[in-house]
C-alpha cells in the first residue's frame, strides 16, 4: 500500500520534472547549435552586420534585419492592441452590464483562439488590399498589415488580464473617488489604472512576448526579405519567419545554414525569456500585495 503511494508520487513528480527537462532541453539545443554557429561566425558580425543573407552566395549573418522586422511588427501590434485592449478592459469592468460582459468575453476569447494561419490569410487578402486603397505605394507584403491583424488578435490577452487587475482593485478606492465627485472616467484613469498598473504591465509584457514570437501571420503577410528598416510599407522578415523559411526548404543538417535557425531562435528565446520573467515577478509582487 505504502509502496504504491510512493510509486505514484514518483510518477507524478516525473511529470512535473518533465517541464524542467523541457526548459533544459530548449536551452541545450539552442546553446549547442549556437556555439557551433558562433565558432564559424563571429558574434560581433552577428550583432552588428546590417545584412542577413545566409542563403545567398554572398553570405552575411547580421541578425539586426530580422530583429528589426520582429520589433517593427510587434510595435505596430502593441500600438493597436494596447489602447483597444485597455479601453475594452475598462469598459467591461466599469461600464458594461453583466450580460454584455458574459457574452462579449467568450467571443473575444475565440478571437485569440483562431489559428494564426487564418489571420495570415486575412492580413494578406483583406487588410493589405484595403490599405492599398489609401496607400497605393504599399507593397503586397509589408509590416503594417500583419502588425495590425496581430494587434487585434492579442487584444483579448491585454483586455482580459487588465480586466482582472481592474476588478481586483478594492471597492473602497472607487467609492472614495466617487465620493469626491469624480466621474466614472476620471475614476478609471486617475484611480483604477494606477492602482491596477502592475497587472496591466504584466498583460502588456505578455502581449509583447506573444507578438515577438508570432510566426504564421508574418510569415504569410510580411514577406521574406530581411531588411533593416522601420518602414512599415515594405516587405521585411522576422526571426520566426526566417526559421519557418529555412525549415520548409531542404537545408542539410549540420550545415551553417541549418545552425542559423538556432542562433536566430536563441535571440528570440532570450528576449522572450527576459520578458516572461519580468512579468512573472511583477505578478508575484502584486499578488503578495493583495494577499
Amino acid at each position: 500500500m505504502n509502496t504504491k503511494e510512493k510509486i505514484i508520487e514518483w510518477l507524478l513528480f516525473a511529470c512535473a520534472a518533465l517541464c524542467v527537462l523541457t526548459t533544459l532541453g530548449i536551452i541545450a539545443v539552442l546553446a549547442i547549435q549556437s556555439v557551433q554557429f558562433f565558432s564559424e561566425v563571429p558574434l560581433k558580425d552577428f550583432l552588428t552586420d546590417t545584412q542577413w543573407t545566409p542563403l545567398f552566395a554572398d553570405k552575411h549573418f547580421g541578425i539586426l534585419p530580422l530583429l528589426s522586422g520582429t520589433f517593427l511588427t510587434t510595435i505596430i501590434a502593441i500600438t493597436i492592441a494596447l489602447p483597444i485592449g485597455l479601453t475594452t478592459a475598462i469598459y467591461l469592468s466599469e461600464y458594461a452590464s453583466k450580460t454584455f460582459r458574459s457574452t462579449v468575453k467568450p467571443v473575444l476569447e475565440i478571437l485569440a483562439a483562431i489559428p494564426t494561419v487564418v489571420y495570415g490569410y486575412f492580413a494578406l487578402t483583406v487588410v493589405t488590399p484595403f490599405l492599398q486603397i489609401f496607400f497605393p505605394s504599399l507593397s503586397g507584403f509589408n509590416a503594417i498589415s500583419p502588425g495590425i491583424v496581430m494587434g487585434l488578435m492579442i487584444v483579448p490577452l491585454i483586455s482580459s488580464l487588465s480586466e482582472d487587475a481592474l476588478y481586483a482593485v478594492p471597492k473602497s478606492l472607487r467609492e472614495g473617488a466617487y465620493a469626491l465627485g469624480s466621474s466614472k472616467l476620471q475614476t478609471a484613469f486617475r484611480v483604477l489604472i494606477p492602482a491596477a498598473s502592475s497587472g496591466i504591465i504584466v498583460s502588456i509584457i505578455l502581449a509583447v512576448s506573444r507578438a515577438l514570437g508570432e510566426t504564421m501571420i508574418v510569415a504569410i503577410a510580411a514577406g521574406q526579405q530581411p531588411r533593416l528598416t522601420l518602414d512599415p510599407r515594405v516587405p521585411i522578415e522576422t526571426v520566426t519567419t526566417y526559421i519557418v523559411q529555412v525549415s520548409g526548404g531542404d537545408v542539410p543538417h549540420g550545415s551553417l545554414e541549418y545552425k542559423t535557425i538556432f542562433s536566430a531562435g536563441l535571440s528570440l528565446f532570450v528576449i522572450t525569456l527576459i520578458l516572461n520573467n519580468i512579468s512573472f515577478f511583477v505578478k508575484k509582487k502584486y499578488r503578495e500585495q493583495y494577499e
Binding site: A113, I114, T116, T125, T215, I243
Partner: protein
Amino acid sequence: MNNEDIKTLKNNSFKVWAVFATSIGLVMLGILLVKIGMDGMHRISMQFFTSLPSRRAEEAGIFTAWVGTLWIMGTTALIAIPVGIGAGIYLEEYSKKGWWSSFLEINISNLAGVPSIIYGLLGLEVFVRLLHMGESILAGSFTLALLILPIVIVSTRESIKAVPKTLREASYALGASKWQTVWMQVLPAAAGGVMTGIILALSRAIGETAPLIVVGALTYVPFTPKSVFDSFTVLPIQIFNWVSRPQAEFLVNAAAGIIVLVAITIVMNGSAVLLRNRWQKNVKW
C-alpha cells in the same frame, strides 16, 4: 460650457470610443468569417474532403491534411493529458512549498511564454534527430504535447485549487490515503475545469503550424499515415502551403481549408466555454 458639461462630454466620447474598441475585434471576426465564407464556401464539397493534394487547384483536397490532423491530435492528447494532469496534481497536492516548487512554478510560467516555433527547434533536435523518430507523427506529437503541457498543467492546478479543503479533510478522516483522496475525490470534483483546459489546449494544438513545419511536417503528402512513425501533414500546413502559392485558385482552396479549421476551433472553444459555465453553475459547495 461649464466644468460639468465638459465632464459629461468627455464621458460620452469615451463611451463611444469604448464601444468601438470593444467591438472592433468582433467586427474583424465578422469580416473574417464573411470573407472566408465568400472565398471558400463554394469549394467545400465531398471531393474537397476526400481528395489528395494536387498541382491542379480544383482537384486538390484536404484528405491527407485532416487525417494527419486527427493522428497528430490523438497522439498529442495521449501524451499531454496524463502528463499534464499528473504534473498539475503533483504541484498542487504533493510538492511542499519551498525553492523546488517555486522553481517549478517559474519554469512552467516561462514555458507557457516560449514562442511555439522554439518548441519546433527543440523537437527537431531532440525528437527528430536525437531520439531518431524522424519527421514522423510521433515527433510532431511530442513537440506539440510539450507545447500545450503548460496549458494543461495550469488549468489542472486552477481547478484542483478550487476544490475546497473540506472535501479532502472528509476523505482523509475516513482513512483514505493521499492518492485515494486525489483520485476518488479531488480529481472528479475538478473534472469540469480540467476538461475545459484540455479542450482549450487541444484547440491550440490544432491550429499550430510553425513548430510542425520546423520538425519537418511535409507540405505534399500523397498518402495517409498508417502509424505514428509515418510522415504527415496537417490542415494548417496545407492551408499555409496554399496561401503561399502565387496562383489565385489556390487561395480558394486555402479559404475552404480555413473554413474547416475555423469551424473546428469555434466548436472546440464553444464547448469549452459551455462546459466551464455549466461546471461553475453546478459546483456549489
